[in-house]
């Protein structure tokens, strides 16, 4: 998870990078969920699980 930025931070770029880090985190979580779903589907297709 991205580290918190001090509320007193005045640099716009820092906040933009913070937003980028959160988006990146969301993207990685989403990618993990996709990989899990694909894995489950593969297991279902091969008959390992129902």
């Amino acid at each position: 998870m991205p580290a918190d930025v001090a509320v007193s931070e005045r640099s716009v770029v820092i906040w933009q990078l913070h937003a980028y880090a959160w988006k990146d985190y969301a993207e990685s979580v989403l990618e993990q969920r996709i990989a899990t779903a694909v894995c489950m589907e593969g297991n279902r297709r091969s008959g390992a699980i129902r």
């Binding site: 005045r10 640099s11 716009v12 770029v13 820092i14 933009q16 990078l17 937003a19 980028y20 880090a21 988006k23 990146d24 969301a26 993207e27 990685s28 989403l30 990618e31 993990q32 969920r33 996709i34 990989a35 899990t36 779903a37 694909v38 894995c39 489950m40 589907e41 593969g42 297991n43 279902r44 297709r45 091969s46 008959g47 390992a48 699980i49």
Partner: protein
């Protein structure tokens, strides 16, 4: 003096007794063998059942092993996908931070406009995120369709 006919009669009598004893002995032997055969049949049936059970266990074990291998391969694939994505993501983030490090300055006076290049990067990331969402939706739909198809069979 003993007459020949008497001797013959006695001989016949003894022969008859011997044959009767032999018949009884044969009867007892037959009963014994019959019992033994029944026990042998039961043992053979039991052995056959045990063999069938062992064969079923071996088949189940083989199927479980195949499932295990398939699941391992799928998990390895998923792990590789996640690892690749994590590496790409880290690389991207590092590059962006390096690129924007010199632009990190405090702007205390007027409210500054957002960095245009970073806004573009954020826009690209948003597109990637919605693409990932679409992919997840597609995978889910496919899984649901597959599950529904199996359920309908």
């Amino acid at each position: 003096m003993i007459a020949f006919s008497e001797i013959r009669a006695n001989a016949w009598k003894l022969t008859a007794i011997a044959v009767a004893v032999l018949a009884v002995a044969l009867l007892i032997a037959a009963l014994y063998f019959r019992g033994t055969a029944a026990v042998s049949d039961a043992s053979a049936d039991k052995a056959r059942q045990e063999r069938d059970a062992a064969r079923a266990q071996v088949d189940a074990l083989r199927a479980a092993r195949q499932r295990d291998v398939a699941a391992y391969l799928e998990a390895a694939k998923a792990r590789e996908t996640v690892d690749t994505h994590t590496a790409q993501s880290n690389n991207r983030l590092t590059q962006i931070e390096v690129r924007y490090r010199d632009r990190i300055v405090e702007v205390p006076a007027a409210c500054p406009a957002p960095d245009a290049d970073l806004m573009r990067e954020l826009g690209e990331q948003t597109a990637r995120l919605s693409g990932a969402e679409d992919r997840l939706r597609r995978v889910r739909r496919a899984a649901e369709g597959h599950a529904g198809g199996r359920g309908g069979q």
